[in-house]
Symmetry: C2
Subunit: 314 residues, 2 copies
DNA sequence: TTTAATTGATGCCATATTGGCATTAATGAA
DNA sequence: TTCATTAATGCCAATATGGCATCAATTAAA
């Protein structure tokens, strides 16, 4: 191991916040980190970290080294990617992250097929419902609902993801079929709620083309769309759900779209996110495979919703 | 050894032109280079060099990698230098190159003193009369007569280096003392001549302030100023010599300045050259030590020439 | 043409480096 | 206080590196 690798190790230690966490993400022993950072300090002749036994802070020199280490990682990444552009056959490790539902339902089938076509490519899939740092964790590709804020990343829209209002037949029997959107105000709703986002109404466009929001009476909140759908299947709530979580519940008649003649606001599409312009062959091919699988015009999941092309358009 | 080091190794191989030469400058076995380059190609998954048994050429991928490797070397260098700026005490290796005469006569005494003051600093001195590539060979500092052309380097004038016309007393006995510069045309001269520079006259400024050149009759040419001086000491030639090669020949009366009332053209000064703005402590200190040793106003060597401040000024 | 010298590749081996385990000391939280 | 967690250290096995000898290919010299 040489100075560059040690600098990258230092960067990882600082990014992760401790020697132990850095060791964990690298799957090596802490002692290795400890020894290599010490060695780096010896080589550079400068103390980089002020250590206590349970934490550390950066010295001035350390802070500068971190910046440089980050530049080095960037440049080294570019270099390796440049080399990868010369591969005719894809190889290497394809590191992907996505939310659990996207990964399980839409990526996994594509991965299975992809690795049959390209056995040389290893795949590492990290399902995580909170965002991860693509750059520092070295991901090639992320799939997310909603455009990411980090403008240093590149996001491409993969498929639209429209909304529906759904209820089970049992719910309709109990509460009657709502005929206009205002009827929803008294009906029990399941709604998405997390630390970052809390849905408290249904946004739609009225007959005059103006954006409106209909308040809802949320009786069940969760930060997992599938859980909300499950709740709705039990007949005790209706739900505002994105199309991409629908399986065959509608085809089987277990869920019914409500108020299909109102016009719902466009919902965040599914995006693919990657950290730099020039993708390695394996990433480009996987990207294409996903787009193929999800469909060009009509997303795959919309085929599970008969007549969806005429719904919620006003 | 990791990818970065291997890329730097590749760069060195390409710059030196062969595995063998790269191995030589690194003082390692050729087999190491061969193995590491192969390893690099495996890791990147790309052939970088088209090899025959006795030479190689870069592939397209190789050429791109070389560029990146060069950027990496630059960035890594900056990083290490940044760390070195935090040293309070100088340490590390000070790599210096100069012409033989400058090194032996003017650097060596300073180095001796410098290493007494800073025992932690190792010094590597390369005496070479032809220019070497500071960047690729990793030199901290070079001392040269004449401003270097490479504008990516930084050059600072260390000391002026005026010219004299010299002859031995024996020469004067034989040929008489020349009273005006035109007299030189018939007198045998020793003159500098190398593949890059051939001195064929003496440039001076006439009474009207106009630049003139007096042709000389060169009977002995060499590409080494000391040899020319030695020849002149034998009494068979006169010579146009830069002041910095004078020892105590004039003080001892073994050489006499001729035609001291003409005005000679300014000659190339001695320059210190370094490859980047922010010098490590050891380099800055050595630089200062050299300037101290050579003198602020009057260069050290001019003290060997009594009355020089009044000579050759017209 | 033959011979000699040089180049990069390869196999083998001694040595140096690395990474894992166990232990220790220090620190902060419960 | 006790307990869990952290980084440092010493020891050992596994791995990687660099040097040597050798080989095959190629070029230059005789």
């Amino acid at each position: 191991m040489d100075t560059t690798s040690r600098l990258l190790m230092l960067l990882e230690v600082v990014e992760r916040g401790s020697f132990a966490k850095a060791a964990e993400t690298r799957n090596i022993d802490r002692s290795v980190i400890s020894k290599q950072i010490s060695r780096l300090e010896d080589d550079l002749g400068v103390r980089l970290l002020n250590r206590t036994t349970r934490s550390f802070s950066l010295t001035a020199a350390g802070a500068e080294m971190i910046k440089k280490a980050s530049e080095l990682r960037q440049l080294l990444g570019e270099t390796v990617r440049l080399a990868e552009n010369y591969h005719q056959e894809p190889r290497g490790v394809l590191k992907i992250t996505s939310s659990t539902i996207i990964g399980r339902r839409y990526l996994q089938p594509v991965i299975n097929d992809f690795q049959k076509r390209f056995p040389q490519v290893e795949v590492e899939l990290r399902l995580d419902d909170k965002l991860v740092d693509l750059v520092s964790e070295g991901f090639d590709l992320a799939f997310r609902v909603g455009e990411p804020k980090d403008s240093s990343l590149i996001a491409r829209k993969i498929a639209r993801n429209r909304l529906l209002i759904l209820a089970a037949p049992e719910f309709i029997q109990t509460y009657g079929l709502p005929s206009k959107i205002e009827d929803l105000i008294d009906l029990p709703a399941a709604s998405y709620s997390s630390t970052s986002l809390r849905v408290e109404g249904i946004r739609y466009v009225d007959q005059y083309g103006l954006p409106q929001e209909q308040k809802i009476k949320s009786v069940f909140r969760a930060n997992d769309a599938e859980v909300l759908l499950d709740k709705t299947l039990s007949g005790t709530t209706y739900v505002l759900a994105p199309a991409f979580i629908i399986n065959d519940e509608i085809k089987q008649g277990r869920l019914v779209p409500l108020l299909t003649d109102i016009k719902l606001q466009e919902y965040s599409a599914m995006y693919a996110v990657y950290p730099h312009r020039d993708l390695p062959v394996r990433t480009r091919l996987f990207f294409d495979a996903i787009r193929d699988h999800l469909g060009k015009e009509t997303p795959l999941w919309e085929s599970n919703i008969p007549g969806f092309e005429h719904m919620y358009l006003g």
